[in-house]
Amino acid sequence: MSLPGRIRTTIARIRYSAASIGRRISVGAGHAPYALLLALLVAAFLLNVGIGAVSVAPNQVIVIIARHLDAHLQALPGWEAVVDAGSRLGTFPPGAWMRDWLAVDVTRQQDAVIWTIRLPRVLMGAVAGAGLAVSGAALQGIFRNPLADPGLIGVSSGAALGAVTAIVLNVTVLGIWTLPVFAFVAGLLVTSLVYLIARHDGRTEVVTLLLAGVAISAVIGAGVGLLITRATDQQIRTVTFWTMGSLGGTLWNQIWIVALVTAVGIALVIRSGQALNLLVLGEREARHLGVHVERTRTLLMFTTAAMTGVSVAFTGAIGFVGLVVPHLVRLWLGPDHRRLLPCAALMGASLLLIADLVSRTIVQPLELPIGVVTSLIGGPFFLWLLIRTRRQQGGWA
């Protein structure tokens, strides 16, 4: 090789190692985003639990939660050791400061408001936000389309149909569980329908899937409209509020269900992170790289449908979280799904909590539907993102 050629190669190698060292640093610092997002989540959580008609300081919140945990978990083997370790922390200097900070009184009213009303609500918000954001990220990956969100595969419209059916026809067979069960089952059924229509010869065509989702959602929207013509004014009010979403009135036993489905769902999606990366290259390319494309896509579609379905069932339709959060994370940390998915979960949870805080406090004593807040913030933000991207790189690709 000629001398200039050799110099060029050397320079390129140096540049490459710089890039790969940079990558290693950012992977080493790869824990920083998680720490940051976790801190954001904890802050949003404490603020959201503390702020309201009855205001409670963060240290009081911690004390209340610790007391209830202690009461509930005493029977658990090993809990004594945890408490013991916790109290021993108090002997170290920062621990002493912590102990002083946590030596606060809590009124009975504060305790009741936090434990029975706000905590379930806030936990529901965090879990729903995480599930919606991860679902959105996964669907954008499967469809290789930055516009995909959980509404696209029919789960939202299906859930709406189920919910409206339960409300308008006054179905109460399952007591307070009637509406959520109807919404969840209908959401999954409609997703299955969309999937079956798009499936042909054992393969699903992505564009057909998208269009089938759009078409079926339209038909179902019409069905919802038909049902509403038979509704009373009170029912129409209920339907309207349901379609705008709300975390109010969440009960502890609802949390467990949503949390379980969401935790399993997020774990399954994160496990497919590498497959999602390869799917972004293209369906054929992913297969050439050893991905069971059909199996992965089916798994992810129904996992996201279940996650979205269960959160929509209990909180109503909360828009834009699934669309915007993945874009935010991608803008910040790049498109690698192995990092995108867990970060989207944390950020989705935090942002939904912040949105909930805004919805509860901005027009006190009234409460805005949370869907209104997420769309009101999410919509303009998304537009800004679009315009910025167009200016910077002449388009979304």
């Binding site: 540049r15 190692s17 990366n277 050439h288 991905v291 991608r330 498109p335 790189q393």
Partner: protein
């Protein structure tokens, strides 16, 4: 050459789609360690043949074996460890860096090989003169740069069979030569390369064997000098050509005569069997 193992054995392959024969009765044996060029006019079935070898579409009749084992017997994961495919174009919706794209080629490898990822990725990128693009975002690269990064991804996969669909279409002449030389060095290490090429002279210069396809059938298959027959090429491509000798290498050159309306000469050679 007769001692070499058959890497790809295609037997009486037919592909029918929508009532049309895309491929009919193609029989071709490709020994390991060869560079084979697939040439032919648009719509001749080159991409269909490659897709069939890649396992993207199921044949209507006939069979394909890779290293002695029927194609459908390989799982996707196993296939990914034995054959890599360079598509004509890769469209990425999200801004992965070139390095990340090449790293995707390592995904099918077993964990013990993944430990060499950093070296393998750097080597693959330098092989295609794309090392300086490592930190750039793939969607912001030019078409030719994207091809070179994608080729690095294919090289990083370290498979025994490499399928290239028009690898040189978007490249300048230096990088056309570079890509074909990489194909040659893969073959020298015992790998098998199948490339769809529109540039007949690249095929003549670098291939061990050239398969000429027309109307879904194999018209000829042989060494460059064997298929460099004016009548055959003029007939297949409906474009009169002259054959010359490369000024340096002992390889044929195909020169279009610049006229399209002249009648095609009649001395068209009959189709040969492709079995090597």
């Amino acid at each position: 050459m007769s001692a070499a193992e058959t890497a790809i054995a295609i037997q009486a392959l037919a592909v029918r789609r929508g009532g049309r024969d895309l491929l009919a009765d193609v029989t071709l044996a490709i020994p390991a360690g060869e560079v084979v060029a697939l040439v032919g006019p648009n719509g001749a079935g080159k991409s269909t043949l490659m897709a069939a070898i890649a396992g993207d579409l199921a044949p209507s009749a006939g069979s394909i074996q890779l290293h002695g084992r029927a194609l459908e017997a390989w799982s996707p994961g196993e296939l990914a460890r034995i054959r890599a495919v360079l598509p004509q174009q890769t469209i990425l919706q999200f801004g992965f860096t070139s390095r990340e794209v090449v790293a995707m080629g390592r995904a099918p490898l077993p964990p013990e090989d993944r430990r060499q990822d950093d070296d393998a990725i750097a080597f693959a990128l330098s092989e295609t003169e794309a090392l300086h693009l490592a930190a750039r975002r793939f969607p912001t690269l030019s078409g030719g740069e994207q091809t070179r990064v994608s080729l690095a991804r294919v090289l990083a996969q370290e498979t025994r069979i490499v399928l290239l669909d028009e690898p040189t279409a978007a490249l300048d002449i230096r990088h056309q030569q570079l890509v074909m030389q990489r194909a040659r060095s893969l073959a020298a290490r015992g790998m098998t390369v199948v490339a769809i090429l529109h540039d007949l002279n690249l095929a003549m210069t670098y291939a061990d064997r050239i398969a000429v396809l027309a109307h879904g059938a194999l018209r000829a298959c042989g060494s460059p000098w064997e298929v460099a027959v004016e009548g055959l090429l003029a007939d297949v491509f409906r474009c009169p050509v002259a054959i010359a000798r490369h000024p340096v290498l002992d390889r044929p050159l195909v020169i279009p005569l610049g006229e399209l309306d002249v009648p095609v000469p009649a001395d068209v050679v009959p189709a040969e069997s492709g079995a090597g």
